[in-house]
């Protein structure tokens, strides 16, 4: 029983990360109807960028500062009147404030990267055969993967995490602080995405632009900008996912995300490609299912059962568990 709950907790937190990636996929699907094969690599690449800026940054290019000045964001310890503002720290000197700064900066970079990708690469194939845009995402996939291999090499790099203390004991099972953190972030983001689509004007605009571009323009919506926004936000969410996945696994490496993307697909489809709630629930279901199979059936069965189940569920519910039923177009 002990192991059962341990596996449950374990699976749920990995699953939450799948769910985050699925959430990013859902975002792009709702905005542009495209299944984004590059989502994992976009996340991987921006995660690497986060890794870069969490290294001590050389400041030697700033004049008059001296040659050997470095800025290490992760160990930033501002204090006001002796009161620590850095929200606690880990024993290797990493501060939570430092981590937060790295996170925010990286997510901002990812946001811009997503916007640029849509504007420069996806836009020209829009409005044509949907497969074209999908192939372009495959191209982006290959491009980013190879660029990361070139720039950072194939060896995994350890990745900073804000909470690495002792596991939290819940009686029935224990859960690492990082897993708990990942679960909370996934939940918060899911709610944020839901609120964005359902409750804000901008979210309504994104939905409308996907539904009927020309009518949306007549409402004064700049449809192009909505698509760019959709990609940018998806890239940002994917980046958060990557930054949480890397420390949970063996660190960051160029090929880290493809396997996870496949589970992300599974999660997104399971929940329904157009449902934010579905993405995260689907992710957790896939994660829990996977860890149960590994525990009780054998690890070589995990993919077989996971993807077999996806097919089975789709046969019963063709648009996933939470997806809106398909509308047939004449």
């Amino acid at each position: 029983m002990e192991t059962f709950f341990a596996q449950l907790a374990n699976g749920a937190s990995t699953g939450a990360l799948y769910g985050l990636l699925a959430l990013a996929l859902v975002f792009i699907f709702r905005a542009t109807d495209v299944v984004n094969f590059a989502q994992g690599e976009m996340a991987m690449f921006s995660t690497y960028l986060g890794w870069s800026i969490s290294r001590p940054l050389s400041l030697s290019w700033i004049p008059f500062l001296g040659v050997d000045r470095h800025l290490n964001l992760l160990t930033w310890r501002p204090e006001v009147f002796g009161l620590p503002l850095y929200l606690g720290s880990e024993n290797d000197g990493l501060t939570r404030l430092g981590y937060l700064v790295v996170l925010v900066v990286t997510v901002a970079i990812a946001f811009v990267m997503g916007a640029l990708i849509e504007r420069l690469l996806i836009r020209p194939s829009e409005g044509k055969n949907l497969l074209n845009a999908v192939i372009v995402t495959l191209g982006i996939f290959a491009f980013l993967n190879s660029l990361a291999n070139f720039r950072y090499g194939p060896v995994p790099q350890t990745y900073p995490a804000p909470f690495r203390g002792d596991a939290v004991d819940f009686g029935l099972f224990k859960m690492s602080q990082h897993s708990l953190f990942a679960l909370v972030v996934a939940a918060v983001l899911m709610i944020a995405v839901y609120v964005f689509f359902q409750r804000t004007k901008l979210g309504l605009g994104v939905r409308a632009a996907a539904l009927n571009p020309s009518a949306s323009q007549l409402m004064g919506i700049n449809t192009g900008r909505m698509l760019t926004l959709g990609w940018a936000l998806a890239a940002a969410i994917g980046c958060v996912a990557g930054m949480l996945i890397a420390p949970a696994l063996s660190g960051i490496s160029p090929n880290l995300m493809f396997g996870i993307l496949l589970y992300g697909f599974a999660a997104a489809v399971l929940g329904g490609l157009d449902s934010a709630l579905g993405a995260v629930v689907g992710g957790i279901a896939v994660g829990v299912g996977q860890s149960m199979v590994v525990q009780y059936v054998g690890s070589q069965w995990s993919d077989i059962i996971a993807f077999g189940l996806i097919i089975a569920i789709l046969m019963v519910r063709p648009t996933g568990l939470f997806g809106a039923p398909a509308v047939k177009k004449v």
Partner: protein, 486 residues
């Protein structure tokens, strides 16, 4: 879709059209590459010229007979017949055999995705099933290869119908991912302990390759190009490789002819109707579910043949051979690049599928810089083709094919002058940036920037030009504001 009659009369008949010129240039390049390995450039150049001239003479006569683009394929076929003699070594002949193998797979994908509009990412598994069944029957049970093939292909076709069942309930991306799941289940199934006795587990199964029957072997050995294949061992390799090549070529040609006929048949038209609108197809009396499943079945038949040919040519199967990206995603990508729902597109696609990575690898090893960036170059190529040739290479060629040299010149002229000055200003700025990158950062990055320059929508450049304009208040905006459309 048929091209209407060509515009050619008199002398024009002997002048290549713009598209034909592109083809000839490609042919020259290809011949040159094939001969690249030999020392004597003069011989290489001369033989390229001979090949091209012969091709051209044959082409002109064929064009007189056939008014559409089929003659290009026929021309390609004639060149394909002498491929073993064009190749510099057996490796290249082997790659050409694989072009034929994967052409079969891509033909199948064309039926299901091109004509019927159902995205399948599961075809890698179908090829795998066929190849594995043949391998197991022939190596574990000592079956005759051709008997094993019959069984393998039949079973694969049956599986294809099964794979088509999700298509009855699922649409678009959901179907894509359901079939993707099927492709993902296949390799781990092969690795299961339970089946290891049959499948060989991770090691896979080896089989000796088919060797040509005596007379054929001695004929091929006798006629092997003497400069490339000098000793008896090399000549035997040549005979073996060429024999397999001709078998795969035969399979490929049969596949192509049937594909072409299928496209024009009642079936083909029904498939297209299903793709364009299921509701309309139903109201025309087309049994949509039946045709969907049939499309999967037919395409699985092609995939089954591809698997059989795969086994013949490579004679080795392992779970890793059937990985998702290589056998399910890339063939689909190259199909779209070649041109969906066309006859020639899949051929172009199969060619690209085998050769693009190799050519890029060659460039990479020559220029050092690009070595670790091969994937990036391939990715960029996908992006550039998809954005600039939305109908694929074949579609693009077909469009150009309808042009005469005058029209081409006129159109480019018009294109250039429909752009606003802002566009040109922005483009010039971007070009300067590319040159600066090449100068100060590195050629690789300049190539990437150049690709971006080609891909990015034109209004981006107008936007950049607009920024320039704002920085220079002296410039006047055009009287009628013309944002550019891609």
């Amino acid at each position: 879709m048929h091209q209407t009659a060509h515009y050619r009369d008199g002398v024009e008949r002997f002048v290549p059209s713009p598209s034909e010129a592109v083809l000839l240039a490609a042919l020259v390049l290809f011949c040159w590459k094939l001969y690249g390995g030999t020392e004597n450039d003069a011989v290489a150049g001369l033989s390229s010229v001979v090949v091209v001239v012969v091709a051209w003479v044959v082409g002109v006569s064929l064009r007189a007979a056939l008014n559409d683009m089929r003659w290009w394929l026929l021309l390609g076929f004639l060149v394909a017949l002498i491929v073993p003699w064009l190749g510099a070594n057996t490796f290249q002949v082997g790659v050409m055999s694989q072009v034929c193998v994967f052409a079969l797979l891509i033909f199948g994908l064309n039926v299901v995705t091109g004509y019927t509009g159902q995205i399948s990412l599961g075809h890698g598994a179908l090829v795998g099933i066929s190849a594995y069944i043949i391998a197991i029957l022939s190596s574990n049970y000592g079956w005759n290869v051709f008997a094993a093939m019959t069984v393998g292909i039949s079973v694969t076709t049956a599986f294809g119908f099964v794979l088509g069942i999700p298509a009855l309930r699922l649409a678009g991306p959901y179907l894509a991912i359901a079939t993707l799941a099927a492709a993902l289940i296949f390799p781990p199934l092969l690795k299961l302990d339970t089946f290891e006795d049959y499948t060989g587990g991770i090691q896979g199964l080896h089989e000796t390759r088919l060797s040509p029957p005596g007379p054929i072997e001695s004929f091929l050995k006798e006629h092997a190009p003497s400069d490339a294949y000098q000793n008896d061992f090399q000549r035997r390799k040549f005979a073996e490789e060429s024999y397999l090549y001709y078998i795969s070529l035969a399979a490929g040609v049969v596949g192509l002819v049937t594909l072409w006929n299928l496209g024009r048949s009642r079936f083909g038209r029904a498939f297209v109707a299903v793709r364009d609108s299921e509701v309309a197809a139903t109201s025309m009396g087309i049994n949509v579910p039946l045709y969907k499943v049939t499309a999967f079945g037919i395409s699985a038949l092609y995939a089954g043949f591809a698997g059989a040919a795969f086994f013949l040519v490579i004679a080795f199967v392992a779970p890793e051979s059937f990985d998702l990206v290589n056998l399910s995603i890339n063939p689909l990508a190259y199909l779209v690049i070649g041109g969906l729902a066309t006859t020639g597109g899949p051929v172009v696609g199969a060619f690209g599928y085998m050769w693009v990575p190799r050519v890029i690898n060659k460039i990479a090893t020559v220029s050092g810089d690009f070595d670790k960036l091969q994937g990036a170059m391939t990715g960029l190529l996908l992006i550039v083709v998809m954005t600039r040739l939305p109908q694929g290479v074949w579609g693009g060629v077909r469009r150009v094919n309808a042009l005469s040299w005058q029209r081409l010149a006129g159109d480019s002229w018009a294109w250039a002058f429909q752009r606003s000055p802002l566009f040109w200003a922005g483009l010039a700025l971007a070009a300067v940036v590319v040159v600066l990158i090449a100068q100060f950062i590195g050629t690789v990055w300049a190539v990437f920037a150049l690709a971006l320059l080609i891909v990015a929508p034109h209004d981006v450049w107008s936007g950049a030009g607009d920024v320039l304009r704002r920085l220079n208040p002296g410039w006047k905006r055009n009287a009628s504001i013309q944002a550019d459309v891609t």
